[in-house]
């Protein structure tokens, strides 16, 4: 790196790296990209994973989660393999990279999709993973898995960002990739909390321990559900008491029963829609109900309760 004389004797680049980093950490993503055009040394500094990891967390943390990140790692593996390798043939004619697959034909689902993946090759080969990921999201080229809030349920989809409108588009995860939403705002999205596929029933690990009062989300498909997406919707519910139980905490034995009562609070008490009775240990996917996820986070539970309150007043 060549340094030239300036009016002040000490150049900012003479400082220890950690001092320069203090300034770089304060720069916006666009400015980091501009700074990498200054000289080769700054290009290297401005592409470091550490800087872009901060921006990832700051902008994308709420909608891009662990399972979406695993999809990204899958694309990285495919793109950085040598030309002509078996994995490389996953890149189709449109120059996109298909993510992980689940289910079997015709119930086949794609975990994610990365358009024009050749754009990322040189960044990835130089190990700038976080920067490549950030750009793939910002440019809208990465269709990643997320969940859309729709009334009192969430819907599994693949979403892509539009930086001009600061909103998202959504497609189904099934092979036909039908568009299911446009101009979706940030507050209608959340990251996928489980490795779900809309084509495969979620395998629940919490059946044994569910007891009255527990908050859950349960997969449910209506009879008019589009084919190949049978398990895309997750409804909020609470585990309720059996009819035979007097709901006294000290004498309640509902947890030991083979029957699980799932209660949907948006319906009035006397409505037939309010409670559903399921068998605790079945993997039967012939019925309309699918897998269950127990909610642990107060934030998630609160969000559902807010949506419930909103619903009641409509």
């Amino acid at each position: 790196m060549k340094k030239i004389e300036t009016s002040s004797k000490i150049s900012l680049l003479n400082l220890p790296e950690s001092t320069l980093d203090v300034i770089l950490e304060l720069l916006s993503p666009i400015e980091l990209i501009n700074m990498s055009k200054v000289c080769t040394y700054l290009r290297g500094k401005c592409r470091s994973d550490h800087l872009w990891d901060n921006h990832m967390k700051h902008k994308w943390g709420r909608v891009f989660g662990h399972f979406a990140f695993k999809e990204w790692q899958w694309h990285v593996t495919i793109i950085t393999k040598e030309e002509g390798s078996v994995l490389n043939q996953q890149i189709n004619i449109l120059n996109g990279s298909l993510g992980s697959f689940s289910g079997s034909w015709p119930m086949l689902c794609v975990g994610s999709y990365l358009e024009e993946c050749h754009n990322f090759k040189s960044l990835l080969l130089a190990n700038h993973f976080m920067m490549a990921l950030y750009l793939s999201l910002e440019s809208g080229k990465f269709w990643f898995p997320a969940q859309l809030y729709r009334g009192l349920y969430v819907h599994d989809a693949l979403v892509s960002y539009n930086s001009i409108t600061d909103t998202f588009r959504a497609r189904t995860r099934s092979w036909n990739g039908r568009i299911v939403g446009n101009d979706i705002h940030w507050d209608k999205l959340r990251f996928s909390p489980v490795e779900t596929s809309s084509c495969v029933r979620h395998v629940s690990d919490c059946f044994q321990e569910l007891k009255p009062g527990d908050h859950i989300e349960i997969q449910w498909r209506g009879n008019t559900q589009a084919p190949y997406e049978w398990f895309a919707d997750w409804w909020y519910a609470v585990i309720g008491h059996l009819d035979s139980c007097n709901e006294n905490e000290n004498y309640c034995l509902c947890q030991n029963s083979e029957t699980l009562v799932v209660e949907f609070k948006q319906y009035p008490q006397r409505s037939s829609m309010r409670k559903a009775k399921l068998t605790r240990h079945t993997e039967d996917s012939a019925g309309n109900y699918g897998g269950i996820r127990k909610l642990h986070s107060q934030e998630e539970i609160q969000k559902w309760n807010e949506l419930l309150d909103h619903q009641r007043y409509i």
Partner: protein, 160 residues
């Protein structure tokens, strides 16, 4: 700055000598905020004039002004805005380097933010001069960088 007759450290002043030979007074409690100065005081004692080889008479008064406000708890967003308002980019850079040398954390962080803000809208050529570097890219590398910028941030205009 009036010196009190009492021996309590809170009203004691320290003498600082800049690289170009000028002497400035600062309260001991303000000197404590600059770790380099405090270390020198610990080594040399607080009755001796502390030499600061890398700080000059142009910038030290401004630094002292900042810490005078700091020890009375009067640093506000308005004060900070006013503090840098009339400084050009080079003057801020010099202050930043001095704050770094003096290990004056609060001022250092404030000036880092100010430099980052000033860099936000500058052209690449300007930043080169500011950092004191030359363009060492090949033409191929440069066009590659331009391409990257084009597809990654839609809707935001290229500024050069």
């Amino acid at each position: 700055m009036a010196q009190e007759a009492s021996s309590s450290t809170s009203s004691k002043t320290i003498s600082l000598k800049t690289g170009d030979g000028e002497i400035f007074e600062i309260e001991a409690s303000a000197a404590k905020q600059m770790k380099t100065v405090q270390r020198l005081i610990d080594d040399l004692g607080d009755d001796i004039t502390i030499p600061l080889h890398n700080v000059f008479s142009k910038e030290l008064p401004k630094i002292i002004e900042y810490y005078k406000k700091d020890i009375t708890g009067e640093i506000t967003k308005d004060f900070e805005a006013e503090f840098v308002k009339d400084l050009n980019d080079d003057e801020v850079k010099v202050l930043f380097l001095a704050a770094n040398y003096l290990d004056a954390n609060k001022l250092f962080e404030f000036l880092s933010q100010n430099i980052a803000d000033r860099l936000e809208s500058k052209s690449v050529e300007y930043v080169r001069k500011y950092f004191g570097v030359e363009n060492d890219f090949t033409p191929e590398e440069e066009s590659k960088l331009r391409e990257e910028r084009a597809w990654s941030f839609r809707g935001i205009k290229e500024d050069e």
